[in-house]
């Protein structure tokens, strides 16, 4: 049986006018990289902060590395590393000084040089934090999380706002941590990030997990691995059944004036689709196809896009 590194059972967290978590369950296995995906306000940060013993849930319980916060706080703090969504590191310190400050809190860990090497900030060691680029700052935050050689790493949107190159650098850092046996819980808005990095993904919406599995499993749950998306230029209405009758089409959804078909064989669907539309007098405006992603999974589960909450 797999060891469970992180466990949430029935977490509830309410604020004055919102229920941030509404009975959330989660299990993260030791050694895996686990992703929480969800729109703004889904409850990702709330979950991750409760898991880190920074927030008290109104109901439910969490265990980290098999221990409760109440009884093992000291030990757990030594064994976890974290990067928080909103933290701004001290502006007037140098990169090296910031890492040394965090290193001093832990009994064991790496040397400052070692960590800076790992996150590729060695040549910036003497620069003030205020002079760093967004990507460098984010890597510094992760360096502070890694300096204690943690068993569990919490990363709350580590790549939000970064350019593709910085994002890939970050992915490399996370992959290296995982390859050394560390457990990672990360949140993200980026589908391709979750698909690339995560062994398993939980899709969170309105404070609950609405889908769970490997990225592959979730995409396969759509029943087809391609998405054909198009818009009709004139006012012709085509009933959904017509699309479902096309060979290989598994699902139909409408969104923002567009129609989306999930299909297994694009090359068979498209000629059929053109014929059907022509027969009904509909003119095609746009037509795109792509491999199904977690975004499509979210859309089919909720009817909404991840990004617009």
């Amino acid at each position: 049986m797999l060891d469970i590194a992180l466990l949430c059972r029935g977490l509830v967290k309410r604020y004055a006018d919102v229920t941030a978590l509404d009975g959330l369950d989660l299990e993260v296995h030791a050694g895996e990289c686990f992703g929480m995906l969800g729109p703004n306000g889904a409850g990702k940060t709330t979950t991750i902060e409760i898991l880190q013993g920074l927030l008290q849930p109104d109901a439910g319980r969490v265990e980290v590395l098999g221990h409760a916060w109440r009884t093992h706080e000291r030990e757990l703090r030594q064994r976890m590393g974290t990067q928080l969504q909103e933290t701004k590191l001290p502006d007037k310190l140098t990169v090296e000084e910031v890492v040394a400050l965090f290193r001093s809190f832990y009994r064991r860990g790496k040397s400052v040089d070692q960590v800076l090497e790992e996150v590729q900030l060695l040549e910036k060691r003497g620069a003030w934090v205020s002079r760093l680029s967004g990507g460098q700052r984010q890597r510094l935050a992760v360096a502070c999380a890694l300096v204690s050689e943690p068993d569990v790493l919490f990363l709350d949107e580590p790549t939000t706002g970064l350019d593709p190159q910085s994002r890939r650098q970050m992915w490399g850092i996370i992959e290296r941590f995982r390859s050394h046996g560390g457990t990672t819980l990360l949140t993200t808005h980026y589908m391709e990030e979750a698909e690339h990095l995560c062994d398993r993904v939980a899709i969170v919406d309105h404070g609950r997990v609405i889908a769970l599995g490997t990225p592959r499993q979730l995409i396969e749950s759509l029943g087809a691995e391609h998405v054909v998306e198009f818009a009709i230029d004139n006012d012709v209405l085509v009933p959904d059944e017509v699309y479902l009758d096309l060979s290989g089409v598994q699902g139909v959804a409408h969104d923002d004036g567009k129609t989306r078909l999930t299909a297994s064989h694009v090359h068979l669907v498209i000629p059929d689709l053109m014929r059907v539309l022509e027969r009904r007098g509909a003119t095609l405006d746009q037509l795109t196809t792509h491999h199904a992603t977690l975004e499509d999974v979210f859309l089919s589960l909720t009817g909404r896009h991840l990004r617009d909450g």
Partner: protein
């Protein structure tokens, strides 16, 4: 890294505080240069200025010229001969302190609630009596002094020192903590095994590092430039400034204990400090205030600090002589730290 002192969290935390300060040129200016510039400006402005010349009006008419001439003999008076309407107009607007109407008897018109007019009444009275040939019933000899210790600058320097200790203590601690909180650094620290007590202690230690420099800078400046006496023992002064610094660090911690924003804590800070700028005898003695206000002023921490500093620096008083003042400081320090630690918001 070795297992030496260099890896202690308290060393890193304190170094951080010190660096945050020394890498901020504006902060350095306000802490070191500003009090010295202020002392210099005020010291020069009030240096050796004699009693002010008093302007008085003489109503035009019979005997006006003779009266004005009699008044002019006194160095302190500057008489102006004006017609009656103009003279009273100037009295009303405060341009002259008093109006003299020559005649028998001479009439002096003035507003008895104005200190300047009261002074004018006495000086004019003396001048007129002397001119009329008054003989003193008793000979009184005068000797004026300008001893170090009794001048305005001597009063000012300890007050400025107290003011500086208050300002740097409250801002240094209060501002630093609220900044960490609003940038979510405090939360980040809470996620690590950092001990809260060490975090707070680092603020106190960093204060002590700068306190020495601040105190030496201000006192040395006053002593070398204006000859302000430093009569008390170094030990007594050290005890007083450290206790004062701790008191204001505690109050800084208190105002910072729940504030989430820099704006919020700035408001609170001013609410606490402005009354002390006014009532604690920094620029002028609080004995000018009505009794009830003085009672209140006496228990303010900055008043206790200033009074203790003046007693020790200017009069060379021993610590026992200011024990009551130190007790007031100690009380404020315990209230500050005690309440702050109870209500402090860490997340």
């Amino acid at each position: 890294m070795t297992g030496s002192m260099r890896s202690w969290p308290i060393v890193h935390l304190t170094l951080w505080r010190v660096r945050e300060f020394t890498r901020e040129p504006e902060a350095l200016f306000w802490v070191f240069a500003f009090p010295i510039l202020l002392a210099f400006a005020l010291g020069v402005a009030f240096k050796g200025r004699g009693p002010e010349v008093i302007r008085v009006a003489v109503e035009d008419g019979d005997g006006a010229a003779a009266t004005a001439a009699a008044l002019r003999i006194s160095e302190r008076l500057e008489p102006l001969v004006l017609d009656s309407a103009e003279a009273h107009n100037r009295l009303r607007t405060g341009k002259v302190a008093l109006v003299v109407r020559p005649g028998e008897p001479v009439l002096l018109r003035y507003d008895s609630t104005r200190a300047e007019s009261e002074m004018a009444r006495m000086v004019v009275g003396d001048a007129l009596q002397d001119a009329a040939g008054r003989r003193e019933a008793r000979v009184i000899a005068h000797e004026t002094v300008a001893e170090p210790g009794a001048r305005y600058i001597d009063f000012l320097i300890p007050g400025l020192l107290g003011l500086n200790i208050m300002g740097t203590g409250m801002w240094g601690v209060g501002f630093g903590i609220v900044k960490n909180r609003s940038q979510k650094l405090l939360k980040r620290f809470m996620a690590s095994p950092m001990q809260r007590s060490q975090y707070l202690l680092s603020f106190v230690l960093a204060r002590l590092v700068f306190l020495g420099l601040e105190v030496v800078a201000v006192l040395l400046f006053g002593h070398l430039v204006f000859g302000v006496p430093l009569r008390g023992s170094v030990f007594s002064v050290a005890i007083i400034v450290v206790l004062g610094a701790m008191t204001f660090a505690g109050l800084g911690l208190l105002v910072a204990s729940r504030s989430k924003t820099i704006e919020g804590v700035s408001g609170l800070m001013n609410l606490v400090m402005v009354p002390m700028w006014i009532f604690s005898g920094v620029f002028f003695a609080y004995s000018h205030f009505p009794d009830a206000v003085q009672m209140f002023a006496r228990y303010l921490p900055l008043t206790a600090l200033n009074d203790a500093l003046r007693a020790v620096l200017l009069d060379g008083a021993p610590l026992v002589a200011v024990a009551g003042l130190l007790a007031i400081l100690l009380l404020w320090a315990s209230v500050g730290f005690g309440v702050a630690l109870k209500i402090f918001r860490w997340e």
